[in-house]
Amino acid sequence: MYFRSPGNGTSYPFDARYINRTWRPVPRNLTEGEPFMDKTMKNRTAILLFMLPACILFIGIIIIPICMSAYYSLLDWDGITTPIFVGVKNYITIFTKVTIGFPGAVRNAFLFAGLSLFIQLPVSLALALTLAKGIKGEKLYTALFFVPVIISTTVIGQLWLKIYNPEYGIVNSFLRAVGLGEYTKTWLGDSNTALLAVFIPILWQYVGYHMLLMYTGIKSQPTDLREAAMIDGASNWQISRYVTIPLLKPVLRVCVIFAVTGSLKVFDLIYVLTNGGPAHASEVPATIMIKQLFDRNNYGVGSAIAVFIVLLCFFFAIVIKKVFRTEVD
């Protein structure tokens, strides 16, 4: 657990608050025999007032709706007629009814997760290690690589629609210009290439994000271990492999969790680029959920998918946390 101290951005591998607590001389209220501030800090009205806005928002917009989603997933309901309770039938339907295309969408989501893990994260790690070593202009590079991250996914999607445009897009124009005209394709309209074509912009957009997480992580590591390894004659590669990367484990864990859960709930870019088409080739769970909910008014089936996405995200977040166990936990 790295603790971020205010202001200067350096982190300490301990909780500064805990340290404060242990040696702070605690003034005591002599008559009651308890820390004098406790009375102020136990003010129930104040606690209630401070918690109220956040609780209203969180319970009203997150907790109650989640429970309702779970309840709706057990109904056969189109929003107009009386709902019929059908138990887990919707969960069976999403996996057995071929026309919904849900198993394929889950497979695509896993494929996204795999590509993120084995292409996106290694690229990000390589960039982060290179930049953190103190390349000339490292601040500029980090700033540049981060630019796509802050741009709206909708803009990125529309831009890549143009890039992939079969007649005028730069991908095909480039292929024609270098004499590879026979490889031009309708990238997003061809069910063989659509999935890969929607993955590339996602990879392109978020490499900078993972890179920055790792870069910040490396920069917050104490340098003395690396120096010691260097004095012992370790090569750059050895320092990265045996010192920097093992120390980076907590950050890598976060990156893996983000890459996996992000792939499971991806929506915006696919909605803009293909909306799951052609013929379900680039479908992901969230696009199917939206279609079932708002195009077909299939509230039960759509909610079952929603609950399934939630379970999947929590499942993987927990599994990854267990796999990447760090000394601190």
């Binding site: 007032l49 917009i61 981060f146 909708t154 730069i170 499971l264």
Partner: protein, 288 residues
């Protein structure tokens, strides 16, 4: 590597070694890959179709066509969409910052039963995919006739940013030494006074980090904006662009202009606060 060269035992890395040159070249190639699509977007927003479609695909425009921007702003209605996005984003920032800082104070400083559990529940919200609650929220908002209004987006956006905001705020608040609050308390300051006069002023750097985080999330959100808003008077920029690309399918210039217009506020803020922005998106994650 110069900071590592201690007492001459380490041979300083040569400035122009082969390795360094290769690394620099690779970094430059990667920078080009990251920036070229954006450069292309900027140039085609200033071109007319004949240039985009063949005469001048990747060069700077021969004929700087700023009329694309007026088309996007006026007939494309981008101005209205921008305004809507600003309203929704600013309101979400205010609501979330108030709710999150107040809750964080109660969660990190005050003493009460259930504090740990409450904190854990809020933290679950970070992993929760927000698209899983879209239907109940939609039905709830329809019931009270709030779809097709700013509130239809402000309320969910505030709620969704809450967990992460509390996490960022508490990692900051934990770093504020307790002694200051104790001194204020000794001087007879009430808990509200401590929060308002002591904690909030010290939280200023964290508040801007929070605001930027909420800004990026609300400004760029698409799914809720598409589903909850059908009246064009309340459309935000992201939905506006989607509509615009539907109505200008053959005319690329105005679409490019709309994309640039939607991106511009974000880039301006990034230019001034790049380290703050980076910090806001990393803050929660690095803490784990």
């Amino acid at each position: 590597m110069s900071e590592l060269s201690i007492s001459g035992t380490i041979k300083p890395t040569k400035k122009y070694s082969v390795g360094n040159i290769i690394i620099t070249i690779l970094l430059l190639i990667w920078s080009a890959l990251q920036l070229f699509p954006l450069y292309w977007m900027l140039t085609f927003s200033l071109k007319e179709n004949s240039e985009i479609f063949g005469a001048n695909i990747i060069g700077l425009p021969h004929n700087w066509l700023f009329s694309n921007y007026t088309t996007a702003l006026q007939s494309g209605n981008m101005f209205r969409y921008l305004l809507n996005s600003v309203i929704v984003t600013v309101a979400s920032i205010i609501i979330t910052v108030v709710a999150a800082t107040a809750a964080t104070y109660a969660l990190t400083r005050m003493v009460w039963h259930g504090r740990k559990i409450a904190n854990a529940i809020f933290m679950l919200g970070i992993t929760l995919p927000i698209n899983a609650v879209i239907l109940p929220i939609f039905l709830g908002l329809s019931k009270i006739h709030l779809t097709d209004s700013y509130w239809a987006l402000i309320i969910p956006y505030s709620a969704f940013a809450l967990s992460m905001s509390i996490m960022i705020a508490s990692s900051f608040m934990e770093g504020i030494p307790l002694e200051i609050e104790e001194a204020a308390c000794l001087d007879g300051c009430s808990v509200y006074g401590i929060f308002w006069h002591v904690i909030l002023p010290m939280m200023k750097p964290a508040l801007s980090t929070l605001s930027i985080f909420i800004f990026l999330q609300s400004w760029n959100e698409l799914m809720y904006a598409v589903i909850f808003i059908s009246n064009s008077d309340y459309r935000t920029v992201t939905v506006g662009i989607q509509n615009l690309s539907g109505s200008f399918t053959t005319d690329w210039g105005p679409i490019g202009a709309a994309l640039v217009i939607a991106t511009f506020p974000v880039l301006i803020i990034y230019a001034f606060f790049s380290s703050k922005i980076q910090e806001s998106l990393v803050a929660g994650a690095v803490k784990g």
